[in-house]
């Protein structure tokens, strides 16, 4: 009996080791993609029921509602096609990473600026779609590679800078700052004259994306937008990361001067709309995505958006841009052709207009003029401001967002100096580049 038990146990252990050793390996350590079941595509064409999963990074309810309504319109025209929406919010990237590892991607998903670098192996080529011809000149190089493959449909365009409470700026007589030093001076004035009641700059170390966003925004004026810049050295890997330190030092200066909230280490992003609505925040280093929630609390709050102030003397403010929400099709999806049809439906001008208006962001395709409501005057005012792609999407490898979050949080917590943080950037970039070879 003992012998039989031992043999059974050994057999199962060996099976497990073999299964583990055999998984995900073939010579060059590659995993095989899931097979595209052509039968199901044919079934869809014959009108048999098809369910597509769609994942989007859209966080605000208004835009989510519009996207679902557009999806319902598609389903009305194609009654056999049902769309299942998922909006994982802050967990979006983690969920997609798990799905990539499991080779079980959604049929349609948002690539949030990483269509080529991160999701490139998983997306279908959309270059044969009609809407491709209408891609704006700014968007074309972002979503298309050198071989002409189109990775994603940009549903709208990011043209991002800072969001500010106009009531607060008017109350304390603050002009929209054009340089980072002017911005810090404005923060000091607000702090002094409000006797600490108003937080000049909203950050959350717990939801450290807000910290990383500061660095992503200001990396462009520091290193890219000026006439003499470091774009080439960043791309060819010869960049001296000591040149990053001044930005980290400015960030620490803002903290040391008390220009962030007293509880910056524990406040959450979910607190921002309430505080903004109450006039207790002056500047937020984000696009105005949180503003609809603030307006629900206080419909009278006045909102302004401004470009990212310059840093290098002689330079001018800029916007960070690229695609905001997107739709890509999983190349190994069971219903790839149906997925492409859904994407083409969303690419219709009237649908893209609705998405732009709901999200308060410009359109990414030509020939669409959305009414951007309270933001219209600002986009008109700043229509000639230069738009640079988001810094991390071009100059940093995939995976650096976490480094930006962690190091900035550690700077605030006193665990890291600005100089040390530059070295961490250097080390992590080397690690990620080696990983992605």
């Amino acid at each position: 009996m003992k012998k039989i038990k031992m043999i059974s146990l050994l057999f199962i252990l060996i099976l497990t080791l073999i299964a583990s050793g055999c998984s995900s390996n073939k010579g060059g350590n590659e995993t095989e993609p899931a097979a595209n079941n052509g039968k199901n595509t044919e079934a869809a064409k014959k009108g048999e029921k098809v369910t597509l999963t769609i994942y989007s990074t859209t966080n605000d309810q208004g835009t989510q509602d519009v996207m679902e309504e557009i999806g319902q319109s598609f389903s009305k025209e194609h009654p056999n096609v049902e769309l299942e929406w998922q909006f994982p919010a802050n967990d979006y990237e983690n969920v997609l990473k798990m799905k990539m590892a499991a080779k079980d991607m959604p049929d349609i998903f948002d690539t949030h600026g990483w269509s080529q670098v991160r999701y490139g192996n998983f997306v279908a080529d959309l270059s044969d779609q009609e809407w491709v011809a209408n891609l704006s000149d700014a968007m074309k190089p972002i979503v298309t590679d050198a071989k002409g493959m189109v990775y994603t449909l940009p549903l709208n365009a990011a043209k991002d800078g800072l969001t500010y409470n106009k009531d607060v700026l008017d109350k304390y007589g603050i002009e929209v700052p054009k340089t980072l030093d002017e911005l810090i001076a404005a923060g000091e004035k607000i702090k002094t004259e409000s006797k600490g009641e108003v937080i000049p700059f909203f950050f959350s170390a717990t939801d450290a994306g807000s910290l990383a966003q500061f660095f992503d925004y200001f990396a462009t004026p520091l290193l890219i937008s000026a006439k003499e810049n470091h774009a080439k050295s960043l791309l060819d890997g010869s960049f001296d990361w000591n040149n990053w330190t001044p930005l980290a030092a400015k960030f620490k200066e803002m903290y040391d001067k008390g220009l962030m909230s007293e509880d910056v280490l524990t406040i959450r992003e979910t607190d921002r709309p309430q505080l903004f609505a109450e006039g207790k925040i002056a500047f937020s280093f984000t696009a105005p995505g949180f503003v609809p929630d603030a307006l629900k609390i206080n419909p009278d709050v006045k909102v302004g958006i401004m470009p990212v102030p310059a840093i290098v003397p002689g330079d001018t403010p800029t916007f960070s841009g690229g695609e905001r929400f997107t739709m890509s099709a999983w190349k190994d999806g069971k219903n790839l052709e149906v997925s492409k049809d859904v994407i083409s439906f969303f690419a219709k001008p009237e649908n893209l207009k609705r998405i732009s208006e709901a999200s308060g962001t410009p359109a990414a395709l030509n020939g669409i003029t959305p009414d951007l409501g309270i933001y219209t005057e600002y986009y008109d005012m700043y229509k000639d401001i230069r738009v640079f792609p988001y810094f991390d999407r071009v100059y940093l490898p995939s995976g650096m967002w976490d480094v930006m979050q962690t190091t900035s949080s550690q700077i605030l917590g006193g665990e890291l100096t600005p100089e040390d943080s530059s070295q961490v950037y250097k080390q992590e970039i080397e690690r990620l580049k080696a990983q992605q070879k």
Binding site: T16, T206, T266, S398, D402, T406, A434
Partner: protein, 292 residues
């Protein structure tokens, strides 16, 4: 008459399905994790490279790993200590014939059935700087609120407290079962010998509770060392790495830093740490049982 050997063979076949499931969901991921720890896999791409023991060497040079291991041990050992002390006290109290003992047992046990993430958020709302219940009380007596969750010297003990609060009900239930299995004859005999309450507790109750102590200590240690949800809800491991445990650090390294290889190495470290500590505790307390 059927030969005994055939009957035994059939019995052995009964546990093979369970063993197969165990192999699929425990052994297979475990061996996969060991394999991944020798690579630089980012967690989602089809390709990766073998890096040998680089990830393990990195752990030795990682400035944050000391803090993380220390926190893990505080959560594990700290929670275990207080869960058992308080759980035993409750069990002793609620083993008496008091009117509300049924209701009190239920109330003490209720936190166990709440999701740990929800429990963490409940206490976050208590401790939070803006509008937290604690600061609402403090502001009645002081000018400024306190930010306990931002203080790395304090927030790890808040996390330990919340974990203790949630699971001391389980310790109480196991100790109650242990207490109720002790024959009253022992106490009568001790009374006849003139033993005081304290003497009875240390010489009768505690030795006969040894099996319950063993179970509680080992289970609480494993649970505390693996703590995750409460940390995420209260502090997300911050500020910086100040309240990270091995499990939260693994999660952050895998998903945030896209460093599945290093995360797997940390996972193996966590496995061996928990295995060594819990086996050592099991052996120690089992010996005490035998002595008792």
């Amino acid at each position: 008459m059927r030969p005994i050997r055939n009957s035994t063979f059939s019995l052995n076949l009964m546990y093979v399905p369970a063993l197969l499931l165990f192999a699929l969901f425990i052994y297979y991921p475990f061996f996969e994790g060991i394999k991944v720890s020798f690579t630089n896999w980012d967690g989602f791409n089809p390709t990766y490279s073998w890096v040998g023991f680089d990830n393990y060497a990195r752990m030795l040079e990682d400035k944050n790993i000391g803090t993380v291991i220390r926190n893990t041990l505080i959560y594990g050992v700290g929670s275990t200590l207080f869960q058992n002390l308080i759980g035993l006290l409750y069990a002793l109290l609620l083993n008496q014939s008091i009117r509300t003992r049924g209701l009190t047992r239920t109330i003490v046990y209720l936190p166990v059935i709440v999701s740990p993430l929800i429990m963490g958020y409940i206490w976050y709302f208590f401790f939070q700087y803006r509008g937290g219940a604690l600061n609402d009380i403090i502001l009645l007596f002081a000018d400024k609120p306190v930010n306990l969750l931002a203080d790395p010297q304090i927030n790890i003990f808040i996390i330990t407290f919340v974990n203790t609060f949630q699971y001391l009900g389980i310790a109480m239930v196991i100790y109650l079962a242990g207490l109720q299995s002790i024959s009253k004859d022992y106490y009568e005999a001790a009374s006849i010998d003139g033993a005081s309450s304290l003497t009875k507790f240390f010489n009768v109750t505690l030795p006969l509770l040894a099996p319950s102590i063993t179970i509680n200590i080992v289970l609480n240690l494993i649970g505390g060392l693996k703590l995750f949800d409460v940390i995420i809800a209260l502090t997300k491991g911050g500020p910086g790495f100040a309240s990270q445990s091995l499990s939260t650090m693994m999660y952050k390294t895998y998903f945030g830093a896209q460093d599945a290889g290093y995360a797997a190495a940390m996972g193996n470290l966590m496995f061996f740490m928990i295995a060594i500590i819990s086996i050592a505790a099991l052996i120690y307390f089992r010996r005490k049982e035998i002595q008792a």
